[in-house]
């Protein structure tokens, strides 16, 4: 093991660690301020003002919320399964973060003559990895709900599990038609194809629609927030949680939103592609570092737009009833995704011949 470590490029290890640290802290800060944006936008949509007391424009509000959660009493119910009770929120947070590993945040930068890829891991099965991690996310909810030993939590966990599993099918099917076009599972390759051609949303509008609906369901966001339905299930699976364990559950939702926005931007909206700009010409004139910065800004703008859509939808539409949710998933989205797949296949064959 030690010899393996030494034979590896130590600088590469360091580089990856720094990149991981940067991505995770960035994701956390963005998630923090998404909570602030959520409250502000919710307020505006309801003709209110939103938080404006803590700091200028209320910008310190997320810090105040975090500090409050840290100082709350940590309660672990006697009847709960202690180990799983602690494991639940940790798992929710870890799976929320893990997906960020395969997202390309930019092309590359040059530091001290080294070419640093702005992607933690350019695995050739990137999308499969995303699916694998996302389906693990359901364990955070299930374990948390079950370990609480509370019937509301348990019901919520069962709901959450069945919802996420149902919508994963439609999600996967909608992506298959995208994969038939790109022919690659690597997110970096998909982005590079979009940089040379046009964005995938042009070819796959229906696929994107199905995908975004499924992403809403996977993130447990309204209208699919049945696991935490506060008026039916008393906040559902995190009812027994307090202090920062509750904070991790709430926070992982926002991290999930951020990461899935990044995935949507990468798959359908060109990733770090700046619209109407030739990046290779830009890199030639401005150097790779500045170009990477602008590419990252482009990706971040797309992510912010999707985050806004998440919030916008949440404060517009009410929650689905459970049977409506299952109807939509199984009877509408899966057939639509299948139809989309067949149409894509037929059109591709017609173009080829």
């Amino acid at each position: 093991m030690m010899t393996l470590l030494f034979t590896m490029d130590l600088l590469l290890v360091l580089e990856k660690f720094l990149l991981i640290g940067a991505v995770i802290s960035f994701a956390l800060v963005v998630a923090m301020y998404t909570t602030y944006a959520e409250r502000k936008i919710a307020a505006w949509m309801q003709d209110r003002r939103g938080p404006n007391r803590a700091g200028p424009l209320g910008l310190l509000q997320p810090v105040a919320d975090g500090v409050k959660l840290f100082f709350k009493e940590e309660i672990i119910p006697i009847a709960s399964n202690r180990f799983l009770f602690v494991l639940g929120p940790a798992l929710a947070m870890i799976t929320a973060m893990l997906t960020s590993a395969v997202i390309p945040w930019g092309e590359y930068i040059e530091v001290l003559g080294r070419k640093v890829n702005l992607q933690i891991a350019d695995v050739n099965i990137g999308i499969l990895y995303v699916f694998g991690v996302v389906s693990m996310g359901v364990y955070g909810i299930m374990i948390g709900g079950w370990a609480s030993n509370n019937k509301f939590s348990l019901l919520a966990a069962v709901r959450g599990a069945s919802q996420i599993i149902s919508y994963e099918l439609a999600m996967g099917l909608s992506l298959i038609s995208l994969l038939m076009m790109t022919g690659s599972l690597s997110l970096k390759t998909i982005v590079e194809q979009q940089m040379n051609g046009s964005w995938n949303i042009v070819y796959q509008p229906l696929g994107f629609l199905i995908f975004i609906i499924c992403v809403f369901a996977e993130c447990n966001r309204t209208p699919f927030d049945l696991p935490e339905a506060e008026n039916e299930l008393n906040f559902g699976y995190h009812q027994e949680y307090s202090s920062m364990k509750l904070g991790l559950y709430l926070f992982s939702e926002y991290v999930n939103m951020f990461i899935s926005s990044a995935v949507m931007a990468t798959l359908f909206f060109g990733g770090y592609d700046i619209p109407f700009v030739d990046e290779s010409a830009l890199a030639a004139s401005w150097g790779p570092n500045l170009t990477a910065l602008f590419c990252f800004m482009a990706l971040f703008a797309k992510v912010l737009f999707f985050l806004f859509v998440f919030i916008w939808v949440r404060w517009t539409i009410p929650r689905f009833r459970y049977d409506q949710l299952m109807d939509l998933g199984w009877k509408k989205l899966i057939p639509l995704a299948l139809a989309n797949m067949i149409i894509t296949a037929v059109v591709m064959l017609l173009i080829k011949n």
């Binding site: 936008i41 505006w44 309801q46 003709d47 209110r48 629609l209 916008w312 404060w315 539409i317 939509l328």
Partner: protein, 183 residues
């Protein structure tokens, strides 16, 4: 069955069409509405910095009035206590001594004057009953507190600040009463 009014709206109960069952058109319509609301005028105000104007007949906390020289108007006649439907007012009268003439306007004054703000219903009958213009309801709200005892306001909490010694505080406590009475 014959209808009583022509306002009845008959609902059609037909199954949703495919587009409707996708919910999307309705969702987009709703999103357009919420987006429009983001730019509307806010219904709320930044309260401690901004305050809404009171209605001319607003009845807030009581004020025990003084005349221009700063002498208390109240003669402890007890008419306010009699008028009070909630029995919130209690008082004790005392006789003015010769060296107290700068403190009290008439020979009799209220040595103790208490209003229980938890009993008070802010009807303003005490103000109407007072023959000496000694008590009126101002534009201050009842503040919050942790104890019931602190809601029994004694004379030093009710008295308006001295108009000669503390003119600024007096003006602030007076409220817009005179302007209202002119109208």
């Amino acid at each position: 069955m014959e209808r009583l009014t022509n306002r009845v709206k008959v609902m059609e109960q037909k199954p949703m069409s495919f587009m409707e069952s996708l919910y999307l058109p309705a969702i987009f319509k709703g999103m357009a509405i919420t987006f429009k609301h983001m730019f509307r005028k806010k219904a709320t105000i930044n309260y401690p910095e901004e305050k809404r104007p009171f209605s001319p007949i607003f009845r807030g906390l009581h004020v025990l009035n003084r005349d221009e020289e700063g002498r208390e108007n109240c003669t402890a006649c007890g008419l306010c206590a009699v008028a009070c439907p909630a029995e919130a007012i209690t008082m004790e009268a005392a006789e003015r001594t010769p060296n107290e003439e700068h403190l009290y306007r008439e020979e009799k004054y209220a040595a103790k004057y208490e209003i229980n703000m938890l009993r008070c219903i802010f009807c303003g009958l005490c103000e109407e009953a007072c023959p000496k213009d000694a008590i009126y309801l101002s534009e201050t709200f009842a503040p919050s507190s942790f104890t019931r005892k602190s809601f029994i306001y004694s004379k030093d909490e009710l008295l308006i600040p001295h108009p000669v010694n503390e003119p600024e505080k007096f003006e602030a406590a007076k409220g817009a009463r005179e302007a209202r009475q002119k109208n």
